[in-house]
Symmetry: C2
Amino acid sequence: MDPKTQARFAARARIVKALAHPTRLFLVDQLARREICVCKLTEMVGADISTVSKHLSILKAAGIVADEKRGNQVFYSLSCPCLLDLFDCVESALKTTAQKQLALVK
Amino acid sequence: MDPKTQARFAARARIVKALAHPTRLFLVDQLARREICVCKLTEMVGADISTVSKHLSILKAAGIVADEKRGNQVFYSLSCPCLLDLFDCVESALKTTAQKQLALVK
DNA sequence: TTCCTATTTGGTAATATAGCCAAGTTCTCA
DNA sequence: TGAGAACTTGGCTATATTACCAAATAGGAA
């Protein structure tokens, strides 16, 4: 693999890695609908606020979400709505796998 | 997060995690075009064959690729072509990020 | 100021991942 | 059979990730 190709796939992997966690996928899913503050997201996730904050910072570093401070709250939102299609992709991948397993059992 | 929601996002995360590595993204990209044997993939990647084999087994466990033994070679192929759209998603996410950074510099 | 809420950051321990080498398996072909 | 090619698996070390707690920072209200 030449250096340029390697760099391209490393860049892609950075994005995908940022999404590779159940909580972070959930956060992206919620933020797709509206902006939400860390406080509320923490409540929805049900983990320590520091944990949720770190997940959000990982998504932010990858350019997937954006944050905006208002008062003493920080609101996050999806900065890259196109990534929503990714859910459909993954979802249909899951279905394909499930159907294959079903076929084996039948 | 209720158990059902948690399970749904955990399932999605399993798929995304399987893709969250430069080498594995490269493998999927190559396999999208045609089936290829481990031997050839190893040559393309430029790592130890055991390393490539393990990456392939991770993709296989996630239901992303399928393998077929023919003679003493094992051919892998994409079992879920829909995942190719995912590349476009990630690619446009990269572009969005890049454009924002460019705007900051200007 | 002082307290309180919202959030981030640092530290730490447990767990997961990655890559190589070595050993085992399977198949082909002499 | 035996040698060798193609893969996979086990083992090991190095590195990365995760989640929590505790401490630090920032803003709003009394």
